[in-house]
Amino acid sequence: MKATAIPPWGLPALGAALIALAALTDTRLALILAVWFGAWALNATLADRARGRGSRFLVPLIFGVTLLALWEMAVQLYDISFVILPAPSAIWARMVTETATLWADFQQTILKGALAGYIMGCGAAFLAALAVDRSPFLQKGLLPVGNFIAALPIVGTAPIFVMWFGFGWQSKSAVVVAMVFFPMLVNCVQGLKASDQMQRDLMRTYAASYGQTLVKLRLPTAMPFIFNGLKICTTLALIGAIVAEFFGSPTVGMGFRIKIEMGRLAMDMVWAEIAVAALAGSGFYGLVALIEKRLTFWHPSQRRG
């Protein structure tokens, strides 16, 4: 597709003008801007030209590397205190030397706390959505009450769950369950309503049972919404599990590490954990998105590039 009204030279020109303007006041800013624009231009052309598998990975990679470069430059050029923001290079150094700790924390928080909670929470929300969808009584009764309960903020529930379920990963899972339940429920309920009239009528003409209609019609049409929920919940689950550890934990876990290292002002370690969280989160999200692509290939939102 052709670009919009902006001529092809418009953006570079604008960029150059901005950089020049910045150079007048602050050369460091100009330098940073220049790197940014350069990378963006490269990416834009790459994204438009190459449509192969390679660019699928290359483009986000370039973007990420640019981001990191800008970060490093900002920290170095502006001499930002490491207590506020450590440089990527410092974080990397930490990640390399502390792999064992990071791995143990990852296991505790992601593989136990987050994953278990994610599965239970999303599963429960899905079942609740079915119940809500099945019975108008529940629809009217449970949904508002569910809204209410699910709106209990994590920072308040986390200490309570620690009190109830102990210091181990179980209480983290409980927090994750509470956190993912509502988004998942809302999306599932919406999704179960998504089939259109004629599709439902067709099922009625077959005198299909509730279960049959559910499996053969409602679930497929609900898929895009369900995956919406599942995707949002991947990141929520991670945040939930990590943050819950702030409120009580054994001496292992990403949240625990972040908290104590923050107290020790070891911000490089804090960010190393954050980096692991980001990687894990993106991987988790990517996995769900991949499954979505497989299962909802027929949906308009997936069919086009």
């Binding site: 207590v83 506020i84 009190m163 702030f246 009580g248 054994p250 001496t251 923050m262 002002l265």
Partner: protein
């Protein structure tokens, strides 16, 4: 008026009564200071706020401040209102713990955030590992309250003489049911609430002068608070913006805190400082690895108390 922002290391409570009294009674104003007291909380690292330019001075426990210093944030102790440590370890008596050596094989809930070091150092001295092994201590990172003890999720929990200990008592536990170890009884106590600033700022005479006045007024506040604990507690209560504090608790806290500041005039006791450093250096998972240099100065207190 000169502006001073003081970062506390916890929420508004009688632990910080001296500063609130100085503010309420106009001692700061008399020193021509416009002081803002910033309450802290479990997720605020005062050194970070200092580094980020969010405050001019902070209150901090010495282990935490020394750790920050070793990591390259040059903070300096300019005054030490608290002369004694209020840190304790409280255990269920029926858990079979009569002396520190009995801790092996038990679960201890402790604050982290840099405050675990005195405990680590202590255990190290006693030769008890803290790795959760059979003969060691299983360490839990506690939240902010004494629930882990009350719920019997832990046999021991870290407490302050002026706060958490009383929360246990208030919950209906009688003192006889508890065994309490005071760190100072075992020579592993570290200095607590001191006033710290960034080293580079002290080179600025105007800032230096501001701090002199600030310390002087603050110490006046402490004196008044110790002498009038009831009124001081009420002042603190009045400044509590969360509206969650109770009178009874703050009153009692004020009484206990008065014991910790008693006999001090703000001047850092070098001997206590050295004991603190020794404890930390002996700590297993070391907070600091080398003897700190220039981590304190008497210049401010001398100037403040001299005239």
């Amino acid at each position: 008026q000169d502006e001073v922002r003081l970062q506390l290391q916890w929420v508004t409570q009688s632990q910080f009564a001296g500063y609130y009294v100085a503010l309420e009674n106009g001692y700061y104003e008399e020193e021509n200071l416009d002081v803002t007291i910033l309450p802290g909380g479990p997720d605020i690292a005062p050194p970070q706020v200092l580094a980020g330019g969010g405050a001019d001075a902070m209150l901090n426990w010495m282990p935490s401040a020394l750790a920050a210093r070793e990591r390259g944030l040059p903070v300096v102790n300019i005054a030490q209102p608290f002369v004694r440590s209020g840190l304790m370890l409280s255990c269920w008596a029926d858990a079979g713990i009569a002396e520190p050596a009995d801790l092996a094989g038990h679960t201890v809930a402790h604050w982290f955030f840099g405050n675990e070091y005195p405990f680590m150092g202590w255990m190290n001295q006693l030769g008890i590992p803290v790795d959760g092994s059979e003969n060691g201590v299983t360490l839990l990172q506690a939240g902010f309250n004494v629930d882990p003890l009350l719920q019997r999720q832990a046999d021991c929990i870290s407490t302050m003489t002026y706060n958490e200990y009383w929360q246990i008592i208030d919950a209906g536990v009688s003192p006889e049911e508890l065994v309490t170890f005071r760190y100072s009884d075992y020579g592993v106590d570290t200095l607590e609430d001191g006033i710290w600033v960034l080293e580079e700022n002290l080179d600025d005479p105007a800032f230096f002068d501001k701090m002199v006045r600030f310390v002087r007024a603050s110490m006046r506040g402490w004196e008044w608070a110790a002498a009038n604990p009831t009124e001081a507690a009420m002042i603190v209560l009045d400044y509590d913006e969360t509206g969650a504090q109770t009178e009874q608790h703050q009153l009692r806290m004020m009484g206990e805190v008065a014991l910790l500041v008693e006999g001090g005039n703000g001047t850092l006791d070098v001997e206590s400082y050295e004991r603190t450093v020794r404890t930390l250096l002996e700590g297993g998972d070391a907070v600091i690895t080398t003897e700190p240099m220039g981590a304190w100065t008497h210049a401010v207190t001398e100037a403040a108390l001299g005239n």
